[in-house]
Symmetry: C2
Subunit: 330 residues, 2 copies
């Protein structure tokens, strides 16, 4: 039997249930992965809180990324064999001891990567790559601002940009983390320092993960022909509280952009929701392939046994995490 | 004495006056150009109609681009000598027999370019370059839509993209012009054909010059991570009629873009107003320099003697032009 973690209905840590279901046989180009680790993402928490518009109907199993070993092959699988160490992106359902996935969602885990590292790659890497190189098309010589510089995504962006001749400025909520950023080659500012210094401007690219009123503030700091890419609304979710009112206020506080203002400002604005790319397997698979071109190994903070999933969520919600948080199935 | 064409106040062809004023001596890094030809641009017509928000107070002399010969040098000029054949971008004032400009706005006219060709380059080239390569960052393999494919700007975009491995689709208002576009390697559609065929989609980049409701229609045709760059509102100006009501309607019909929708669509929107780049001489000069990297020679339709400036404007307004229209000062 397979163990699956479901979210029964929106709520706090008690919203989870662990169920068992029968193994499925792979068909066509599907393969079965015995899951070692599942990555936890911020979007999972927003879904548990009932605030994620794209979530499936309750109950459902969240989870976008896993690592493990291939145990069964559908008749049309060509690139894998039983026993391969792999990582994979999932369109939900990654919080499970076994997953059945089409071959294109699965990639070989490099020999020098641990299963922990593999489970923490996919979401951050795809978001970073699509944001930086497909939408923003950041290039050497650009000046870039990352508003979530100390998180998994921000850290990865830094590692993908600095070796390619990009100047990276990073924001953090904590003065104590500035030193860490500076060591990585990032020019670091607390949010307060940044908003109080109007000379920090002229950015070619800004990654905005906070949403709400921060979008307009960041937009004002773009240089000529600069672009801002909005990837979420992390400021809606605080300290484990499911705040529908706060989320609503955030949606309403999102500025609207008129093309006439964009013309006068010579600027651009993008949005990204990596989940939607599952509609286009070829595109998504080609982007997943590129992780080997970068030093993309994620920093792992901690793996919680799968039975402690609610502890794992609250660890992230309480901002205790200093790297990727995982669920362990072994 | 220098002859200068002014727009006295908003109106039809009678809005022009030709005045004389004394020569000015160049100071600092300025130089004097004896103007051979002045380029006429669509924005000049919108200004004459009184519909251009960035126009100086009336009366003023319009004109963004000229060609001619250097006749005097300020003491700090380093790159030019008297007698040099040049082309230049002007921040207004190009409708004149002589102009005084800072050196950075002036570029050498290549030996195999005529003065006519030189006077028709700057506005189209800067708009094309900034739109395609600074904002849109179009790259090899992209699929691109140009909504003004037969005009000076659209023609230049085509010549800058197709040799670089970009697939170009072009819109034209006239079925008769499709053949011309196809000969240049553009896949051509009339506006009607395009809007009626919902399979024409998946664009990585769309150049929108029409504004208004066309922006939303074009936006819907973008592919994943695609971008639209809005550069104007040409559909507001028709057949020489100064239609304030029409312009107002167009402004009001501009869609507004919410970052949440942009996220769900994985798309971006930019605006461009090349005029604003005069605030940043170094940036603009570096872009003007790049014209020699492309086959950027403009197709010249016709040069009107400067005294026939109102005929020249109405020739463009009546959509008779098949290339660049100039004023001749010789």
């Amino acid at each position: 039997m397979i163990k699956v973690i479901n979210i029964k209905k929106p709520g706090d840590g008690s919203a989870f249930e662990i169920i068992e279901r029968k193994e499925k046989d792979p068909v066509g180009n599907e393969l079965v992965v015995d899951v070692h680790f599942s990555g936890i993402n911020f979007a999972d928490i927003v879904m548990r809180q009932g605030l994620y518009p794209d979530a499936p109907p309750y109950p459902f199993s969240p989870g976008y990324e896993i690592s493990g070993v291939v145990t069964k092959l559908g008749p049309e699988v060509t690139k894998f064999k039983v026993g391969d160490r792999v990582l994979a992106g999932c369109h939900f359902g990654g919080y499970a001891s076994e997953v059945v996935l089409p071959e294109w969602q699965v990639k070989n885990l490099p020999d020098d990567w641990s299963f922990e590292e593999g489970a923490g790659l996919t979401v951050s890497f795809l978001t970073a790559y699509l944001t930086l190189f497909d939408e923003g098309r950041v290039r050497s010589g650009d000046k870039v601002l990352i508003d979530c510089a100390t998180g998994a995504l921000g850290t990865l962006c830094t590692k993908m940009l600095i070796p390619n001749g990009v100047e990276v400025h990073g924001l953090t909520s904590s003065a104590a983390k500035k030193e860490l950023l500076e060591k990585r080659g990032v020019k670091a500012f607390t949010h307060d320092e940044f908003y109080n210094d109007s000379n920090l401007k002229g950015y070619d690219f800004i990654l905005n993960s906070q949403g709400g009123t921060s979008i307009k503030k960041h937009y004002e700091r773009l240089g000529l022909t600069g672009r801002i890419v909005c990837i979420g609304a992390s400021s809606a979710v605080k300290q484990g509280k499911r705040s529908l009112l706060k989320a609503l206020k955030l949606v309403l506080s999102m500025p609207k952009f008129n093309p006439i203002n964009l013309m006068n400002d010579n600027r651009g604005i993008y949005g990204l929701n990596a989940l939607r790319f599952f509609e286009n397997p070829e595109f998504l698979s080609s982007r997943m392939d590129k992780f080997t071109e970068f030093d993309a190994k994620p920093a792992i903070d901690k793996a919680f046994p799968y039975g402690q999933v609610s502890d794992a969520h609250s660890y992230i919600e309480q901002k205790k995490s200093r790297g990727k948080v995982l669920l362990s199935w072994k």
